[in-house]
């Protein structure tokens, strides 16, 4: 007679390391789990989760059916005090709102988060602000270009960016002429976009500025026109190479450099693995040999550094808000007072389309201050009011603390947080609020 197996039939215990690795995958390469998603990923293990999260999806049920934002060419601003100026300004504001919520919704609702996650990364990389561009259409066109190429080829992305109206206008490229080149775009192209600081000389900055002459922006339409007469046609010497360049061929030349592979690998590492422990394993650049972004992201996502407990990261305000919205089933544009969302993101210091400078947003400790703690508490209070709390309220009280961790994709609660949560065990809304503000959620451990 076979003895009956009396052990409880639970899902196999998953190690803490495996749980951490999957949690990091979901929060860093995606925007956090939807209800039930984390438990499913745990059941399948890391390799299966990585396959899902690090692959480029051909279809996306939400993204493919989302309406376009209401942005269009508004033409030039009417004269001050003219009758048209009020309707112009009203529409301008509405366009920015429409564009902002279009993207926030997309980040929350896309089935496959990696493309939006990477689009967000590239927005911070080619950091361009509406503050100066002041028209929604060119910002939207840039955003579409970044999304199209987010997991494509970096050479193509860079070529599109050096020809991008919003970026050129942001960095004064439209006033860069052969007579007196403007170096703003050429410097940042090498320092912040393709090579990294000190991987070029001051002479290279002056020379490459010449290659970027002759491009004029028609801002409201987001079109760039090329004026051959204003383009420097002579030969220039860039990084030791003599030749005649335009914006696209200059971009190709820079992107083909080994320094460019190293730089982009460093930047993705900085945002996805650790800003505090810089890239040391330069062998990763091999996966970027053909400038295939998807291949590089996959290699970084599978790198053993994702296991290292030291590589924790603070969720930026967007990371925090989008992952909370996904868990709480909140659609940003349908929020009862959508302005509240932009207001809190602004107070927390991270509003999409408004990076603080051309270097993009800061990381980690910069997001931890007492003022951000207070805004996070206020913001979470608003969010919880409109949340679907059934993933927690449907659980028996004693199952709720573990249930919260699985719901939100938290690695583990400290005894401190368990104690705080235990005091609120019968109140799902309070539980959700405390969990969202806990150090274990604010930091991707």
């Amino acid at each position: 007679m076979v003895k009956p197996d009396l052990r409880p039939t639970l899902t196999p215990m998953i190690s803490l390391a495996e749980r951490r690795r999957i949690a990091r995958l979901v929060h860093r390469f995606g925007f956090g789990p939807r209800p039930g998603e984390f438990s499913n990923l745990l059941a399948g293990g890391f390799n299966q989760a990585a396959e899902k999260y690090l692959s480029v999806a051909s279809q996306d049920a939400f993204a493919d059916s989302q309406d376009e934002p209401a942005v269009r060419d508004q033409g030039k601003r009417p004269a001050p005090n003219s009758p048209d100026v009020v309707s112009y300004a009203t529409e301008k504001r509405a366009q920015l709102t429409s564009l902002s919520f279009w993207w926030l919704d997309r980040m929350v609702l896309s089935e496959h988060s990696l493309r939006e996650r990477m689009t967000w990364f590239w927005h911070g990389h080619w950091a361009t602000s509406y503050q100066k561009v002041d028209d929604a259409l060119p910002m939207y066109l840039q955003n579409q270009s970044l999304r199209r190429n987010a997991l494509g080829n970096f050479a193509q992305m860079s070529r599109e960016m050096v020809n991008d109206a919003a970026l050129i206008f942001w960095l004064d490229g439209q006033t860069n002429t052969v007579k007196a080149p403007n170096e703003n775009l050429s410097r940042e192209l090498m320092e912040l976009f393709t090579l990294g600081v000190n991987r070029y000389s001051e002479d290279d900055v002056k020379e490459t500025a010449k290659a970027l002459t002759g491009y004029k922006v028609d801002k409201s339409s987001g079109q760039v026109n090329y004026y051959p007469k204003q383009h420097f046609t002579g030969s220039i010497k860039v990084l030791g190479t003599q030749g005649s360049f335009d914006a696209s061929s200059l971009s190709d030349f820079l992107v083909a450099r080994n320094d460019s592979a190293l730089f982009i690998t460093e930047r993705i590492w900085y945002r996805f693995i650790s800003s505090m422990n810089p890239l040391t394993d330069t062998s990763l650049t091999a996966s970027f040999a053909s400038r295939d972004i998807a291949a590089l992201v996959k290699a970084i996502g599978k790198h053993s550094a994702l296991d290292n407990p030291e590589n924790s990261m603070v969720k930026s305000p967007i990371d925090w808000f989008i992952s909370a919205s996904r868990a709480l089933s909140i659609t940003p544009s349908k929020f009862s007072n959508p302005n509240n969302i932009r207001n809190y993101l602004n107070l927390l210091g991270q509003l999409p389309f408004f990076p603080p400078n051309v270097g993009g947003w800061p990381a980690d400790q910069a997001w931890l201050s007492t003022s951000s703690a207070q805004y996070r508490i206020q913001f979470a209070t608003q969010l919880v009011k409109e949340a679907d709390l059934s993933p927690i309220s449907s659980l028996a009280p004693k199952a709720r603390i573990d249930g919260l961790a699985d719901w939100l994709g938290v690695v583990e609660w400290s005894s401190r947080t368990k104690m705080a949560l235990t005091g609120a065990i019968n109140d799902p809304a309070r539980l959700a609020l405390l969990a969202l503000c806990s150090p274990e959620y604010v930091v991707s451990a």
């Binding site: 503050q131 100066k132 002041d134 960095l171 004064d172 006033t175 860069n176 002429t177 007579k179 007196a180 080149p181 170096e183 703003n184 410097r187 320092e191 990294g196 600081v197 000190n198 991987r199 500025a209 900085y270 800003s275 505090m276 030291e310 924790s312 990261m313 603070v314 210091g349 603080p356 400078n357 051309v358 270097g359 993009g360 800061p362 990381a363 980690d364 400790q365 910069a366 931890l368 201050s369 007492t370 003022s371 951000s372 703690a373 207070q374 508490i377 206020q378 209070t381 400290s414 401190r416 947080t417 005091g423 309070r430 609020l433 405390l434 503000c437 806990s438 150090p439 930091v443 451990a445």
Partner: protein, 408 residues
């Protein structure tokens, strides 16, 4: 390469480097400290004004009669009737009338041609050098190291705004930040929940411990003081930054200085204040936008000085104004200028010995189209440390010999 980007710098030293999180203070806490332990009268106070983006020194202190200046800058050069006389054939930007009248009272020192060897033209790298006073990989700011040389006191050095500038970052202790807009502390059951959540846990990693600490700080605000100051209005930009604004910095200098003035007047036990203004990256249409910005700087500082004269702290306050670099001598075709090298540094106050210091870089003697550096900025820092902060410069700057005799 041993120079670093601003992001790397912020990572190493900024808003709370590991072990040196920036304490975020409320205006009530500072007011409370001002009541309970006011700064003794006669203690010097340093106000550092950082101009982000690279201020064009040649259109700030203008060699308007120099034919080379006129010929290299068509469209950007000022005319003699636009500028205010300083002497030695130099003129102040016409929008800076407030600072000009302080100059005439001998309360402004202008150090000419300030920079460092082998100027770095990256905003981020050059600002890291100015704020750390270290050329090469830096982990701390010069005033952050000063904070660490003093007895521990979170009120000693305060930056306005919610992000700590690298300037005030130390390795174990940093300066504090005062976010504009004040703090709204949760109350009732939410407060007691959050207090529980903010307890330090042994299992916290460094960042989690910092997250818990920042939340804890919310509740250390003393609840029962009589606020002697109203909370400041929400941060409101007071000028457009559409042009030249893509290199960072704040937009509300006058509001920041206004709060500093109130807190100094109240007796805050603070020796160093840090404020900033962005928008100086004038690659295009420079003339108008730089004049607006310099007008804000001049008006803000002269108003601040007159507020100080209404208190008994006028003799104590020294204002230091700098930017990460000057700009190229030759204008570009966008009626702007590209990144350059040296520029003027301003010091203001009744303690300051007014007048010119350092040699004006000659336009006959440009190196790669750029101005020469005639004074190292660390000479100025060394004198400020010794004469304003009463600290041996060696402790902060190492073995730095140069001094600028700026003070009475």
């Amino acid at each position: 390469m041993d120079t670093i980007t601003r992001r790397q710098f912020l990572k190493a030293t900024g808003a709370g480097a590991l072990g040196a999180a920036a304490m975020s203070l409320s205006i009530e806490e500072i007011a409370n400290a001002a009541i309970t332990r006011p700064l003794p009268l006669g203690t010097p106070i340093l106000v550092v004004v950082t101009l982000y983006g690279g201020n064009d020194g040649l259109n700030t202190v203008v060699p308007v009669n120099d034919p080379i200046y006129q010929s290299l800058r068509p469209g950007i050069a000022y005319k003699p009737e636009d500028v205010l006389p300083l002497g030695e054939n130099l003129y102040l930007n016409g929008s800076m009338s407030g600072m000009h009248s302080l100059w005439n009272k001998n309360q402004v020192a202008i150090v000419r041609g300030v920079g460092y060897p082998n100027s770095d033209r990256s905003h981020f790298s050059s600002m890291a050098i100015w704020q750390s006073a270290i050329i090469g990989a830096a982990k701390t700011g010069w005033l952050g190291r000063w904070v660490e040389s003093q007895p521990e006191d979170p009120f000693l050095a305060i930056s306005l705004g919610s992000i700590l500038p690298p300037l005030l970052a130390g390795s174990k202790r940093s300066g504090s930040v005062l976010p504009l807009g004040g703090l709204k502390v949760p109350n009732g059951s939410l407060a007691s929940d959050c207090i529980k959540l903010a307890i330090e846990s042994r299992s916290d990693n460094l960042l989690q411990a910092m997250a818990a600490k920042t939340m804890r700080n919310l509740f250390t605000v003393s609840a029962d003081i009589t606020p002697i100051l109203r909370s400041p209005a929400p941060a409101a930009p007071d000028l457009p930054t559409a042009i030249g604004g893509n290199a960072g910095g704040d937009t509300n200098l006058s509001q920041q200085l206004d709060i500093v003035a109130k807190l100094v007047a109240a007796g805050a036990p603070t020796r160093v204040w840090s404020v900033s203004l962005g928008g100086f990256d004038t690659h295009a249409d420079e003339k108008g936008s730089q004049a607006i910005l310099l007008g804000v700087v001049s008006q803000g500082i002269s108003k601040f000085m007159s507020q100080m004269r209404a208190t008994n702290r006028a003799k104590d306050v020294v204002v230091l104004v700098y930017s990460e670099f000057g700009r190229r001598v030759r204008g570009n075709a966008s009626d702007g200028t590209d990144h350059g090298t040296s520029g003027p540094v301003f010091l203001l106050g009744e303690r300051v010995k007014g007048g010119f210091y350092g040699e004006q870089p000659s336009l006959n003697n440009l190196k790669d189209d750029d101005l020469a550096v005639t004074t190292d900025f660390r000479d100025i820092y060394a004198s400020v440390l010794e004469k304003v902060l009463s600290t041996p410069a060696e402790k902060i700057l190492g073995n730095w010999k140069g001094r600028t005799p700026l003070f009475n």
